[in-house]
C-alpha cells in the first residue's frame, strides 16, 4: 500500500472544462501530496484593457468570467471612480446592487448543481440548473441579457430599470423562493450527502487566515470576512441582511454558506427593487485625471480586486485584476492532503473555482447551409427578451 502513484486531474479538467492541472500523489486511495498548476490559458486581458478607452474597458473586463461577469466591471468602475474620486448617484448604486445580487444567486445555483454532479447526484445538478433559468429570466428582463449584462460604466450604469418591469421581476423572484427552500431541504436533510460531505476537506480557521481565503470559502471556516459588510459599497448598507458564517470549514459548511447566501441575496434584491430611489443613473464623466485607484467588491466567489492607474489620457495606463480563485486555490494543499481520491474532486470543487467559458453557435441544416446568421440570432434573442418582458 505504501507504493506512491500519480493521479492526474487535468491539464484539461474533465468536468470543469477549463485548463488547470492537479497532480495528486496517492498511496492506495489516500492523497498524500498535491501539486497545483494554473495559467494554461493566458489571454492577456489586462493588456487588452489598457488598449481600450475607460468606457470600452468595461466590456473587455466583463468577459474575464462568464459566470461572475458583473463582479469585474463592478470592481473596475469602482477603481476608476476612486481615481477622481466621485460618488455615483443613489439610483445607480441600487441598480448595481440588484445586478450583483442576481448574479450571486445564479452563480451559487450553478455551483450547487455542479457540486451535485461531482458527487454523482445528477438530479440535483439538473434541478439547480432548471431553477437557475428563472433568475436568468429576471436578469434578461432587467438588462436584456442572460449573462454579460453590460450594465456598468464608470460613473454610473448604462441602462435604467423601468418601473413597469419591477412587479414582474418581484413575482419571478418570489416564485423561486419555495423551490430554493425545497433544494435547501434536499441538500441539508439528505443522510447520504451528509456522509459524503461532513468532515471532508476541512479548512480550519487558522489555515483560512494563513492562506488568506476569501468569500464563502473563508466564511465557511468561521472567518467573518465580507467586503459588503467590511467596507460597504453600493446599496448594501441601506439593506438589512446577515453575513452567513459557519464554523466547521468542511465541504458541507461550504454548501450551507452558499445555499443560505442565496436567501440573503433574494432579500437584498427584493429590497432594492422595491425601494429604488428616483434620480440620475449616470454622472457622465468626461475625463479621468491622472492618479491611481482601487476597487474591491464581494463577488460570488470572494473579493475581486482591481487596480487602475490613469495618466490623464482616455485609456488606463495600468490595469491589474485579481480574481478570488487566485487566493482560494492554494487552500487545496491544506484541504485535500489526507483525504481519499473520491473526495478530492468535491473538495477541489468546493471553493468554486472560476470558469471562463463562452460559446458561439451556428444552426445548420443537414446540407450544411446556415439557417441563421449572427444577425438573425441577435434578432431572435431580442424577440425572446421582448416576449419575456411582455409576459412578466
Amino acid at each position: 500500500m505504501s507504493k506512491r502513484t500519480i493521479v492526474p486531474i487535468g491539464p484539461y479538467h474533465p468536468l470543469q472544462e477549463e485548463p488547470e492541472f492537479f497532480t495528486l500523489t496517492v498511496e492506495g486511495e489516500r492523497v498524500v501530496d498535491i501539486d497545483v498548476r494554473v495559467g494554461y490559458n493566458h489571454r492577456g486581458i489586462e493588456k487588452l484593457s489598457e488598449m481600450k478607452t475607460f468606457d470600452q474597458s468595461t466590456f473587455v473586463i466583463e468577459r474575464i468570467c462568464g459566470i461572475c461577469s458583473t463582479s469585474h466591471p463592478f470592481a473596475y468602475t469602482r477603481a476608476v471612480e476612486d481615481i477622481i474620486p466621485v460618488e455615483v448617484p443613489e439610483r445607480a448604486k441600487y441598480i448595481r446592487t440588484i445586478i450583483a445580487e442576481g448574479e450571486r444567486i445564479h452563480s451559487h445555483l450553478l455551483w450547487l448543481g455542479l457540486a451535485g454532479h461531482f458527487l454523482g447526484y445528477n438530479t440535483v445538478y439538473m434541478w439547480a440548473w432548471k431553477l437557475r433559468e428563472e433568475i436568468l429570466d429576471v436578469m434578461e428582463i432587467l438588462s436584456g441579457n442572460r449573462n454579460n449584462y453590460a450594465m456598468f460604466k464608470p460613473g454610473g450604469v448604462r441602462r435604467d430599470i423601468k418601473s413597469e418591469d419591477i412587479p414582474g421581476c418581484i413575482k419571478k423572484i418570489d416564485s423561486i423562493v419555495p423551490t430554493l427552500n425545497m433544494l435547501k431541504k434536499a441538500v441539508i436533510d439528505d443522510p447520504v450527502l451528509h456522509a459524503r460531505t461532513k468532515g471532508i476537506g476541512v479548512l480550519t480557521k487558522e489555515e483560512a487566515l494563513n492562506y488568506s481565503a476569501l468569500g464563502p470559502t473563508s466564511r465557511a471556516s468561521g472567518v467573518a470576512r465580507d467586503v459588503r459588510k467590511d467596507s460597504s459599497y453600493g446599496a448594501y448598507d441601506a439593506v438589512e441582511w446577515d453575513m452567513i458564517v459557519t464554523q466547521n470549514g468542511d465541504v458541507f459548511d461550504k454548501v450551507i454558506v452558499r445555499v443560505l447566501e442565496m436567501f440573503e441575496a433574494v432579500k437584498i434584491m427584493k429590497h432594492c427593487l422595491l425601494n429604488l430611489p428616483k434620480g440620475e443613473i449616470d454622472l457622465n464623466l468626461k475625463s479621468i485625471p491622472p492618479g491611481e485607484g482601487i476597487g474591491h467588491i464581494e463577488a460570488p466567489r470572494g473579493e475581486t480586486f482591481h487596480y487602475v492607474r490613469s495618466d490623464g489620457t482616455n485609456r488606463p495606463a495600468r490595469h491589474k485584476v485579481r480574481a478570488p480563485t487566485f487566493m482560494n486555490l492554494p487552500t487545496y494543499k491544506a484541504t485535500v492532503v489526507g483525504e481519499t481520491i473520491s473526495d478530492a474532486t468535491i473538495i477541489l470543487a468546493a471553493i468554486d473555482p472560476c470558469y471562463c467559458c463562452t460559446e458561439r453557435m451556428a444552426v445548420r441544416n443537414i446540407k450544411g447551409k446556415k439557417l441563421y446568421t449572427g444577425e438573425d440570432l441577435v434578432k431572435l434573442s431580442q424577440e425572446k427578451t421582448e416576449k419575456l418582458r411582455g409576459k412578466r
Binding site: V7, P14, G28, E29, G120, Y121, N122, R196, I341
Partner: protein, 307 residues
C-alpha cells in the same frame, strides 16, 4: 444442438433486446425526472452500433490478450446465465442439480472481467477503478448469497432453479413472506452494486476517475462492455424475479404480471440511482458488511423459523 439454439436465441438476442429497451426506459425516466427530453427508443442500440464502427485502441504497455479478452469473457458469462434462467423459466423440468450455484458463480464473472480489463489497461485511473470494483465485489457477495439462501430454505433446501419455480407456482411467491421480502430488499441493493449504478458507481465514477475501468476502452471492446451492462440490466432483475417472485409466466394474465414485475424492479433501480449521490468505497463496504448483512442474516433466521 437445442442448447446452442437457446444460447443464441434467448441468451443473446432476446436478452440483448430486452436489456436495450430497459436501458432506454432507465435513461428516459432519468431524463424526465431531471427536466430533460431524453433519448429516442433506438438510442442504446445506436450507441452500440456506432461504437462497433470505431477504431479499437490498445494502450502501450497493456496486456493485449487480457485487455481485449476481458469484455468477451464478461459477455459470454452474461449470456450463459441468461440461457440457464430462460431454460428454467420456459420449462421448469429443464433444470439440473446445483444450477442456482452455477448462476451465482457465473454472475460474478462480469465484475471479474471488468477488474481484469481495468488492471490490463495499465492506466492509474483504471487501476483505481478496478481495485474499487474488487472491494465492491467483496462487499456485496456475502449479503447477496445470504439473500439467495432464503428461497432455498423456504423450498426445503432445493438448489434447482426449476424446483424453486414449481414450488412458487403452487405455494405462492417467496417475496410474499416476511423473510422473503427482507431478502428481496437486500438483493435489490446488491443488484444496484452489481450493475455499478449510483450510489455504487465508484468503479466508473466519471467525475472522480474519469470513467475508471473503462477509461482506455474504445471501439468494439467498449461496445461489448456497454452491451454487457445493458444485458445485465435485464439478467439481474430477471434472476430476482425467478427466485423471489415466481418468474415470468406466459399464460394469459400472468404475462402482464410478469412484465409489471420486471418494469417495477427496473423502476426501483432507476429511482435509487436518481435520488442518491455516490458514496465512497469505504462507506459502501461498511454499508454492505454492516446493515445489509445483518438484514440478510435476520432474513435467513426468519426463513428457518418458517416466516
Amino acid at each position: 444442438m437445442i442448447y446452442l439454439l437457446y444460447f443464441i436465441l434467448y441468451g443473446f438476442f432476446l436478452t440483448a433486446v430486452i436489456g436495450l429497451v430497459a436501458s432506454w426506459i432507465d435513461r428516459k425516466v432519468t431524463a424526465r425526472v431531471q427536466y430533460r427530453v431524453g433519448p429516442p427508443v433506438l438510442q442504446p442500440l445506436i450507441d452500440i452500433v456506432k461504437l462497433l464502427g470505431k477504431e479499437t485502441l490498445v494502450p502501450r504497455g497493456a496486456s493485449k490478450a487480457a485487455f481485449l479478452g476481458a469484455p468477451l469473457f464478461g459477455l459470454a458469462s452474461v449470456m450463459l446465465v441468461s440461457t440457464i434462467l430462460w431454460m428454467n423459466n420456459i420449462n421448469t423440468q429443464n433444470t439440473f442439480l446445483g444450477d442456482l450455484i452455477v448462476v451465482l458463480y457465473v454472475l460474478t464473472i462480469p465484475s471479474i472481467s471488468i477488474i481484469m480489463g481495468g488492471f490490463a489497461s495499465s492506466n492509474p485511473l483504471a487501476s483505481i477503478g478496478a481495485s474499487r470494483e474488487m472491494k465492491l465485489v467483496l462487499s456485496y457477495e456475502l449479503p447477496f448469497v445470504l439473500a439467495v439462501l432464503v428461497p432455498v430454505i423456504h423450498s426445503g433446501f432445493s438448489i434447482r432453479i426449476g424446483s424453486l419455480l414449481t414450488y412458487q407456482a403452487s405455494n405462492g411467491v417467496f417475496a410474499g413472506s416476511l423473510s422473503g421480502a427482507l431478502a428481496l430488499i437486500v438483493a435489490i441493493l446488491c443488484v444496484q452494486a452489481k450493475l455499478a449504478l449510483v450510489p455504487f458507481d465508484m468503479p466508473e465514477a466519471e467525475t472522480e476517475i474519469a470513467g475508471g475501468v473503462l477509461i482506455e476502452y474504445s471501439g468494439t471492446p467498449l461496445a461489448v462492455y456497454k452491451l454487457m451492462k445493458n444485458m445485465l440490466l435485464f439478467v439481474l432483475p430477471f434472476f430476482l424475479m425467478i427466485i423471489f417472485m415466481g418468474g415470468l409466466r406466459t399464460d394469459g394474465i400472468h404475462l402482464l404480471y410478469g412484465v409489471l414485475k420486471y418494469v417495477g424492479l427496473v423502476a426501483i433501480i432507476t429511482v435509487i440511482r436518481n435520488t442518491n449521490p455516490r458514496v465512497r468505497i469505504d462507506q459502501a463496504v461498511r454499508f454492505f458488511w454492516g446493515p445489509v448483512t445483518i438484514l440478510a442474516i435476520i432474513a435467513v433466521i426468519l426463513a428457518f423459523k418458517g416466516l
